[in-house]
Amino acid sequence: MRSERRIVLLTCGLAYLVMALWFWRHDLVPGDSASRAANAYYTIFSRDPHLAAIGFVWNPLPSLILLPFLPLGLLVPALTQEGLLVVLVSAALMTATVAVVHDVLRRSGVPVTPRLVLTAAFALHPMIVVYAGNGMSEACFLLCLLLAVRSLLIWLLDGRPESLVPLGLAVGLAYGARYEALAPVAAVPVLVGLISYVRHTGDRSIRLATARTDAVIAGLPGLLAVLLWATAGRLIVGQWFATFSSQYGNSAQVSANSGGISSVTGDDLPGRLGYGLQQLLGLAPFVLVLLAAALLVVWRRNDLRPLAPVTVLGAVLAFDVLAFLSGTSFGWLRFHIAAVPLSVLLAGHLIAVLPARAPGWRRVVPLVLVLAAIPSTLITLGRPTLAREESEWLTAGGAARTSGLAHVNRRVAADLDALGLPEGAVLTDAAYAFGVVLASDNPKQFVITPDRDFPAVLADPAAHGVRYLLLSAQGAADAVRTRHFGPGSGVTLTGAVRTWSDPSGGTQWTLTRV
């Protein structure tokens, strides 16, 4: 068993390492990954290093994980300047995720051959491979979710209240990674309470009390994570849920891009439903079939084990589908990634419950249903309308755009570094300029949004020793440009001393003198 796990860990670790190095080598580290790394970077290397610089727009765990490793960037600058660290960390986290999937399959009682096939079907799923290597928060989120699935399964098997503790912690951590975890934060305690009530016998009031206490043990860490993050945001930046209310947050971005989004996804409910379904079935073509079969098992055999993945991963999927249908989400392909482990674990369960004398084909069918996801995902990833983000890294044109942006950022950083500016000489909005700040050898030359004196400097840059404003061309909410040149990205920027363009000739950055 141990050697089996070691082989799984070693193979995936190596494969994901190669993938991570590929993303880094080709300058394809996505902006979302780099910005999480930058959020961590500001807390140590910015002009005003403080923990709250980690920001409140995105949930903090993916950045917090990077913190202990950031000082290594002093030895190997590529770790921070070129986003190497963030992709290495996502590779490590996804490797751990595969190990957890493997362990859940073992605990579900899946025999060794199908167990290894299913583990491979998860580990080699193109979506998982891509997100292991690109540094996005998916790896961190999936790891937390699968740890929650594992703990919930253990509790379903042993019923010990102590087993609810790791479950609660995993769900709480998942909220630290992504706000979609709100769904399991709510769903898990409900399921635990219901099952606890059904399982216990005796006096109704005792059963109720037991169910309530079990639900609290499973739910308190998640609830605390939500409250804590909200309170910290309220106290430090004045917003309870910055992701929804900030000008840089998800909601603002979605509404700013709503035209672009609906032109691809359709803006009526049937259109969106069709688009979302194409994405979901692209990643896991038989997930609904497996789900129906597993629920039948729950119903017919009174076997509750499939409820572990269905509750945790299903809640996340449902949350993302509803968010998309209601027009409050980008409808990215990756929002369906939870369907990948869900179908693998459900298939595992269907195999585990087969009697020993069942014909071989009944074991093979679930495996085939799961393995079919690999070609179908490859096809989906090749279609830029469905895989809008992924095609920016995986298609030749997209990859040229992504690496082109990275090169511009590095160019800007190098040119500013060459000016030998003092601390706080360049005022810029880090929501857009994170790539420039990361790439610079002199990050303290920038006054950035997380700095505690940013509002004061923004109001009167000259008085605070600012010499230049670095303005993004595209940023819809660029605070510096909006404050000094008015809203909208089409305004003329007076006093420009320098502009930088991407390889296709589009202006990306403008430097103006104060």
Binding site: H50, L51, P161, E162, V165, G168, S205, I206, A209, T210, R212, T213, D214, V216, I217, L220, P221, L224, L228
Partner: protein, 461 residues
Amino acid sequence: MRHSAHVVLSRPQRAGLIVALLLIGVWAVLRPMAVLQTVVALVTIAYTAAIVFRVVLVWAAGRGEHRVTVSDEEARAIGDAELPVYTVLVPAYREPDVIGLLMAHLGALEYPPDKLEVILLLEEDDQATIDAAESVVTGGHIRILVVPESQPKTKPKACNVGLAVATGEFVTIYDAEDVPDPLQLRRAVVALRRLGPTYVCLQAELGYFNVDQNRITQWFALEYATWFRSLLPGLVALRMPIPLGGTSNHFRTAELRELGAWDPYNVTEDADLGIRLARSGHRVGVLASVTLEEANSDFINWIKQRSRWYKGYLMTWLVHLRAPRATIRQLGWRGLLCLNLFVGGTPLAALLNAVLWATTILWFLDRPPIMEEIFIPPYYYLGLLCLIFGNATVIYLNVLSARTMNRPDLLGTALLSPAYWAMMSLAGAKAAWQLVFKPSYWEKTTHGLHLPRKEAPAHAE
């Protein structure tokens, strides 16, 4: 006795303390901010360590069974002839109303009377209890020993007097109001024989018979469940010293005598004995057998009892830090951790809580800029972690205790724990004050508050 709380601070300790205070005083005059920052840093680190230690104990306890379990069958399987003589010491002071019940509870013990020696330890000036006892004591195996008037008049002194005349191979202590598991003595015999001579003592679990009397007793019951089912088994799992609880500790008599028995000057002689057992290389186990006690239901009475415990823990801590080199050599790093974070840490944390909460409230109300200067970044973040995760963790563990002790209805009590901690802070302050001004004063706990009003005993003291 070398390790006695007869004097709380030894002469070198006193001198060291005075010199240290003087130095700090001078430093505080010269660099007040540096002193404040250092104090905050040290307090934060110690506090964090105490919380981490607590979590580690619960975690360690959760990994398997660390209590010694003896089933009913195993306990009864041993023939009367093979049982050793067992001495039960019952110290009582001003408890005339509880004596009758005591006889009933001791009568329920499944142990052959000819092998059982019960010694009621009563004080010379307590005629009421002596009279009450003389009217009910019937069996030949129960006798009354009147402890002659002498100072210090404490429970451990009475126990030492009893131990001097005890004839049992094993000896244990019950309080007058205790309701021990009838098989406890047999279980202890089987367990101690099974564990072998390195184990000199077993601490049985203490629980309460009046859990639902009011909110205080509910909190108390939760606290005891955590103490005996998580923290002490955690200490066992990590092979650390076990601070004994006041009753239901079962000893091998010879080794107990050799060790010098109880320190009559220490007001938590039991915790002190636990540390001394560890220092002499003996081991202590936790026996899965419950003795029910009366949970303190009255606020004032609770504060008195708790302040005595805290004072005793502080005394024990100071006594064992007298010769630090010997302590380190004898206890090792594990024992030292337990001594500082558990024995010293429990009362100090209770005391500090009040100060730290007051600081937090002050910050939110007024945001005095000086506090930003005192709390320098690393300790500020650490303090913040303690404030949020520390409190949340302990509340969470209490919820878990409520569930594992099969009392899920105590959920609300667990969630309201912070109010109980405020009571602990009060007791901590009283303990610190008494440690300085009345170190050996024994805060008598009044028992029988669960009995109907008309039978309520005359107030002690």
